[in-house]
Symmetry: C2
Subunit: 203 residues, 2 copies
């Protein structure tokens, strides 16, 4: 079946977001990343900062997040769900709606899992070695108190826990994607080109 | 660094071996698969059938294998190692020697892990959905008493255990390879073409 949607899951610092943006430009497709956060915020009443932090990562300070983020009812509980599950349910709905429109690249937010039954979806995972990612995040986001390796390990761990909790999948397993690319070894350009080629090729 | 070696790890039934063969043909490189078994047999004194069964899969009937396969000394123990560890040690040696010659495609046998410190190595994982693999193994190897799904599950499980035991890695994790391709979705031809392109491109 012809590909109408590309989902990009990525390791923090791997350049997966850049791959997604450049791919969308190349294909002339819509690009969804921050836009998803905006739509989830409107649909849920939760603020964008909270969604950005909790929409892909396992929360570290749940109690605090619950109290400060809940804006439309009892803190921590919405429609009988915990905020975490409520946020997930809204995210599923928003991503399914986006997918219905087609011709789009969706970065992150377990879109590969949410859209797993759609055959018009090409699921991509972008990763890179610790060294390549450490180099990239220092270049892009500057230094911080933590070493870049520690920052990456923390992010990796939180995404892993989040993924397991909502999808019961082990994050980063090749079998969950149609292709997984090491952007450090292969280069961002080659990643973009090959994905675009597959979108054209796959019938 | 220029690529001199491609390792192909693969799920049983994914066509990874075919990808490896066609890639070697395309590049004009040596192809190592059964040849490794032959070399390990010569270096170890163990017979080829035993190596084929135990060089990638966790043994299910270790005691029996030990008794019937050991041809040069006390059954089950060689050079102070269990046969399993002895076989691994010989395999490591043989694969390192093959890699030294360069310009080769090596299929299976944890070559990606054994050669992990070589920067001239491109590590590929070929996988496919259960349905695509079931279809392929019935087409290639015919029916058997077990359903194709059961045969695949057994093979997957044994490779997973073998990989964990010798490499302490989770088999199939995208991060262990430079690229992982779903041959069912992408097609064997496209896999071969893209890997060959990367071999040319990566400096």
């Amino acid at each position: 079946m012809k590909t109408n949607i590309v989902t990009i899951s990525r390791e923090f610092g791997s350049g997966g977001r850049t791959v997604g943006k450049e791919l969308a430009d190349k294909l002339g497709w819509e690009y969804y990343d921050k836009e998803i956060i905006k739509q989830v915020s409107i649909a849920s009443g939760l603020n964008e900062e909270f969604i950005e932090k909790n929409g892909e990562y396992a929360p570290t300070n749940s109690l605090l997040s619950y109290i400060f983020s809940a804006r439309n009812g009892t803190p921590g509980v919405m429609n009988g769900l915990s905020i975490d599950d409520f946020l997930w349910a809204v995210q599923v709905k928003v991503i399914n709606e986006i997918a219905e429109k087609g011709n789009c690249v969706i970065v992150g937010r377990c879109a590969d899992y949410i859209l797993r039954d759609r055959e018009d979806c090409l699921n991509v995972f972008i990763h890179a070695s610790m060294a390549a990612r450490a180099d990239r995040i220092v270049r892009l986001y500057g230094e911080s108190d933590q070493t870049p390796e520690k920052r990456l390990e923390d992010k990796d761990k939180k995404r892993k826990v989040y993924c397991k909790r909502h999808t019961d999948r082990d994050w980063g397993m090749a079998q969950n994607y149609n292709l997984s690319l090491d952007s450090g070894k292969i280069g961002i350009e080659s990643c973009v080109e090959y994905i675009a080629k597959l979108v054209d090729e796959i019938e």
